[in-house]
Amino acid sequence: MLLVLTEEHREHLSMLPQVEPSVVGEFGRIALEFLRRGTSPKIYEGAARKLGVSVEAVQQGVEGLMFLLMESSKHTISEVDFMDSVLILGFGEELNQVLLQLYQDNKVQIRRILSQLIPSQPAFHQLEWRLDVQLASRSLRQRLVPTVTMRLMLSESEEGQRSTRVLQTDPSTLLHLISTLEAALAAVKTSHSRRILRNIK
């Protein structure tokens, strides 16, 4: 699929052919750093001074580049489609190659960064267990009750904030849990699931 770039976007990117391709590479590196850590205006000022252009032009160039890379990674467009989309901007062949290189080298990383923005549910991290036997309590002095105590660790979000729950179960419920979850694992291997996983790409 082709990327559709708005007028404004094309205007922002139009300053890129005015500088050398190596500078574009540098802009690309800055753009990635910003995607990873957030923007920092000081770098814009430094680059503007070195190149002799306005700070605004540098900012627009870098942000335009960021947006281009983000949209391309989001849709995982192929090389051909990327080149076709960039061709519309009317840049030289060398510049196009630089942009393509930037895209291919960092596609996976950008996708990973974007996935951190998705609302996420608590995800399974670890399970520890231990077998206990209750021998007595305040109300009953002679008991023999086996229980399995478990610590379930979940990660609440991509940053890795962990939450821990202590849970308990008895042996018969444990066997029921195992058989139910084994049925769940088998569900992804049925022909119905396989057909859908294969065909929706």
Binding site: W129, V148, L152, L174, I178, L181, V188, L197, K201
Partner: protein, 193 residues
């Protein structure tokens, strides 16, 4: 079994044939067991026609002493000889001991269940439900194309139930099931010792 003075006095009245005749005794014993098992603090448990002729305060003392004795016997898992010995000391005749013990045996398991439910512990897992989903795209990324599971554990703590929900990939679920199987194996091994 050690019993306090008031309990001993109440039990003595229970065994005393001048206080409770042969017909009233089993009625009182039944009422005491019933108030532990079924009536949930019902104040009318002793309001029976067969017991109308008895002094209300004395009846209450007998009821309190008898229920305490029953709970102590269940708590310490007392056998027939211990119970017979304690009741004999309090001047119960053989017939009354027999009646009391038979009723005790009948209700012992239920009483144990009630006593075992008193107490705290971590949330107890009752059930698990799962859902297999296929993520195609989201607000930030197209072409995600990954299957994932949503697991929900329904747990209970002291009557209040709560659900623990989380998502996991197929590999993580495999890992989870593997660990649960290890736990089950160790339970089996321990039971064979």
């Amino acid at each position: 079994m050690e019993l306090s003075e008031s309990v001993q006095k109440g039990l003595q009245s229970l065994g005393d044939q001048t206080v409770l005749d042969r017909c009233s005794f089993p009625v009182v014993v039944d009422a005491c067991f019933r108030s532990l098992l079924f009536s949930r603090g019902d104040p009318a448990v002793l309001d029976l026609p067969e017991l109308k002729h008895l002094d209300k305060i004395l009846l209450k003392q007998i009821h309190a002493a008898a229920t305490t004795f029953i709970l102590e016997a269940v708590k310490h898992n007392a056998d027939k000889s211990t119970i017979s010995f304690s009741l004999e000391e309090l001047t119960f005749n053989t017939e009354r001991i027999e009646t009391f013990y038979t009723t005790f045996q009948k209700h012992k398991k239920d009483l144990e269940l009630i006593l075992s439910s008193i107490g705290r512990g971590p949330a107890h897992i009752k059930d698990v439900s799962w859902r297999l989903q296929y993520q195609m795209k989201n607000g930030q990324l197209d072409k995600v194309n990954e299957p994932f599971y949503l697991i929900s554990l329904s747990t209970e703590t002291g009557g209040a139930s709560e659900d623990v929900d989380f998502s996991c990939t197929a590999e993580q679920l495999q890992d989870l099931v593997g660990k649960l199987k290890d736990a089950a194996k160790s339970v089996e091994k321990a039971s064979q010792v």
